[in-house]
Symmetry: C2
Subunit: 341 residues, 2 copies
């Protein structure tokens, strides 16, 4: 018998889906990208789903239910934007143990509705059930896109520029901060956590946004990404997805990885390696994309994203060029929920 931790989530999914052939002509893209793509006769339908489990993906001792509902929606929308699509509908399935009251679930839904309102998405269905232990949230999002607009992970080509939006590592540092204060508060009554000057880190962890604004700017500037993915498991993991699926290599530059000031200060304080946090932290929900070299000028005008490197021939591998000019191979340390702590 093989323990699942021995092959990890990606290994398990690959093992389970590798021999499965699709049957329906309307299935344009099945497993392997941010969303599945379905031909519905008119616009194409994008479909993505995410599962959030208490004790694995969130800890209710420091995550307010309203924020949890908001984030659960946003992570799905992020996948639709990562295909250059527009999210339209979601379904929400909940498993709820006896310690939750109607008021708790109403609070969770307030966050779900707030995200729906902000991103103009309709809640169209779901399933609510008792659970033996804890809370679980399974959300599916349906989006739409014209076929010509859809951006897959497999279109990156040699000499393409690599761009990423926003900054990286802040959500991970926000989690470290929450965890530190949780430990410090243990057993103390009236404990006041100290989050002063760290609001950005908390916001990135507790209430991330999907980068609709990046998609809008790409359209406004008439930029045509060749590949795109959202950064949920960490930059390293997502770069490897794009390079593997496109059959290319990459060079990114350490000094170009976008990092916020608060992230850097927090890493210093916790004595953690800043670049490792930015490369492997995860939960950034930024967009990582590649564009043809000919669009360099347009990319330089972008306010929401900037260039961090370029695509190279596959034989050159996937590496980061450090500040002193050394090439370090990029390994996906991305978050493996099956790994033993």
């Amino acid at each position: 018998m093989s323990e699942i931790s021995s092959i990890g989530e990606f290994g398990l999914i690959h093992h389970l889906t590798k021999d499965f052939k699709t049957i329906n002509a309307s299935t344009l893209k099945a497993v392997g990208d941010d969303c599945a793509v379905i031909d519905s006769g008119g616009k194409k339908t994008l479909l993505t789903t995410d599962l959030l489990l208490e004790g694995i993906h969130f800890d209710l001792t420091y995550v307010p239910l309203r924020h949890l509902g908001y984030k659960a929606v946003v992570v799905n929308l992020s996948d639709v934007y990562a295909m250059n699509g527009t999210p339209r509908q979601i379904t929400v399935s909940l498993g709820v143990s006896k310690r939750f009251t109607v008021e708790h679930i109403t609070e969770l839904y307030a966050g779900i509705y707030a995200a729906c309102e902000r991103y103009c998405v309709d809640l169209v269905g779901g399933d609510t059930s008792a659970s033996v232990t804890g809370l679980l949230i399974s959300i599916t999002c349906v989006g739409e896109a014209d076929e010509k607009d859809i951006i897959y992970r497999n279109g990156a080509a040699d000499t393409n520029l690599i761009c990423v939006s926003g900054d990286l590592g802040a959500a991970y540092m926000g989690l470290q901060l929450l965890e530190r204060e949780r430990v410090a508060s243990a057993g103390q009554k009236d404990f006041q956590p100290d989050f002063a000057g760290r609001e950005y880190l908390l916001e990135r962890q507790l209430k991330p946004e999907a980068r609709r604004d990046v998609i809008n700017e790409i359209r406004e500037l008439d930029i045509h990404p060749t590949a795109m993915i959202d950064v949920s498991d960490g930059l390293s993991s997502e770069l490897i997805h794009i390079c593997r699926q496109s059959g290319v290599g990459c060079r990114i530059y350490e000094d170009r990885i976008p990092i916020d000031y608060q992230t850097a200060v927090m890493a210093e304080e916790l004595n953690m390696n800043l670049v490792t946090a930015a490369m492997n932290g995860g939960e950034d929900y930024e967009l990582l994309f590649t564009v043809p070299l000919s669009e360099l000028e347009k990319v330089e005008k972008m306010k929401t994203a900037h260039m961090i490197g370029h695509i190279v021939k596959p034989s050159l591998g996937t590496s980061m060029v450090t500040r002193d000019g050394t090439e370090v191979e990029i390994c996906a340390q991305g978050w493996n929920a099956f790994k033993e702590e």
Copy 2:
């Protein structure tokens, strides 16, 4: 604070969704039917989702993983058929605790794939995660239908005939049988459960089928149902859904409720009320539908379904006429997972 069991699943969903207005023109039908209906420009997209949790919806001491995978898919397909649609794609999200190995999940997927193959459905995505305790399966199904073909729950009208496919109560009796043998086997090594002559009950509980054949027969005979729903929570509950949403009442006849011989024998043996089991047992996954009186002759030709009553004016209420001619009001005792045992 209000316990969820005080309002039940339907009450909770109503409470959470009653004030929510949809925004997108493509959202043709949101919460409240077997599926949501989305306008994708060509054919309409049907969307449904179901959550199955260990310890709530299934018990792995008597449910083989392969059957569980099969059933998890089938219950979603059943919702698409209940809209007169064709299921095309599914996504599968799993939460898996450490006691499950790669071999276990491969077995579960064998059942998922068997259902996909039988019903010509493509697996197009999902999410796999570690869970703290037990197994959970969240499946979403996407189907398609021409707008004119979609059958909602709200179209039943006075004098319509009420029909149901197959027979009722067998899945519930199968569960009772499995539970009895589980209790009998406790602590005994090499215990051989006695299922002889009860194979049909087991099959109905462990490996139900979605009634694609009923949909095909309706099309072949050119029958035009005015309302349709699948029987997942029990005939009583589904009749009340159709009557409430259509603003009508109903009369069904006790002696017309279809019940298999094995179901009757088992009820006798367990000293349970047979009609109660058939009306409220649930998990039958049969189709309940109404048709105009003018199609009586066509309905009488159906092999997969037959008539059990008719729709009446709302003032006459929802009742069952017993064998001795008494009218008994139908109450939805349907399965409430939040109820205390």
